[in-house]
Subunit: 160 residues, 3 copies
Amino acid sequence: MFRTMTRAAALATALALPLAAAAQEGDTAPNGVVTLYPDGMFPPTGTWNLATRAGDFVYVAGMRGIVPETNTLAEGNEARVRQAFVNMQTIAASQGATLQDAVRIVVYVTDMYRYRPIVNQIQEELWAGRPYPPRTIIEVDRLNQDDIVEVEGTFYAPRS
Amino acid sequence: MFRTMTRAAALATALALPLAAAAQEGDTAPNGVVTLYPDGMFPPTGTWNLATRAGDFVYVAGMRGIVPETNTLAEGNEARVRQAFVNMQTIAASQGATLQDAVRIVVYVTDMYRYRPIVNQIQEELWAGRPYPPRTIIEVDRLNQDDIVEVEGTFYAPRS
Amino acid sequence: MFRTMTRAAALATALALPLAAAAQEGDTAPNGVVTLYPDGMFPPTGTWNLATRAGDFVYVAGMRGIVPETNTLAEGNEARVRQAFVNMQTIAASQGATLQDAVRIVVYVTDMYRYRPIVNQIQEELWAGRPYPPRTIIEVDRLNQDDIVEVEGTFYAPRS
């Protein structure tokens, strides 16, 4: 399931830009759930995948600030949070959805006072005036790899 | 995006009644996600909105016990929890959905032993004999404003 | 709403097998949400139900490792985690959905280092080569009954 990154994808990643819609659609279950392997993303290394499509909805796994190009966590809290949201954005874009097409996000932080302001700032930057989605934000005990922020997004991307 | 509350809305709020279906539908994204600004609700003051509609589903942001009329937290644990659920109910009602149309709720509490019984009691009161939705309830480290309970609901409200 | 378990269901449970698709569909709300009472499952004893169907989606409540046959928690961490996933699987199966039809799961553990490896192992076993769904996994403060793992799944099961 690993896809090597294209040069364009690597460049877009380096610039923290969402990739142009480039859907790699993999396995389709009998009932119609499509497992997604978007170009330019890191390969999931455990018992999970990056996203699915079912009907008109796209379900993105909890995203952390892993830089696809290097498959390591972004350095610095602000860069880390931005990368988490950009990863979500990249996956949504592969199905023709923008951040404005998020129907809901859930944000998990390990310190509400430290990281919520950064999340707010990054959302302002990335949404850039478009309406924000409903959000639930909670402080949890621990994330994988003792990370600081994880964001889980659901998107609406009707097939035309 | 702020809407001043109507007198009827203020009254309904004071009585902790769900408002009659009064949808303020705002921005619609190209893909069709509708950001909702229900009458009688407090204005979200950060990087989030109260709810979206996409297709036949309504996604409500994590609701806490903020009294719309005063935009402050309800006093007392029971009143606080009731208000959180009533806020969710009000938003759903604006799209023609009742509590019976919840497909799932997730409840976040900061003390399972103290607040779960209150959540149960308020649900009994508000559902009033109608079947309860699937629920996930977890104790988290912290909610925004060091609040005690937050509830996130997803509703089914097909456009007829 | 309590349904006594059939012998077949009890056997399947004892063997930790998903039950054959046996949907008990109960109350249907005016808008069309169907509350599900799958055969062979334990009865929910509080202000919640096991699952709903709305349109083509099935929403399963957060499942813990309760053995339906005895209505008590499975003994041992591995058995407990397996039972939680099998419960989710059983409920999905009652609507014609397999684990491959999960569009998303959220896994709540109370110790990331101790229980995440067990979750991974059980998922490998149960998915058995089929693509995994997107996953969000977080460590929380506490689950109901001081349990160790809870899993919440959403499934796609279009009515043909």
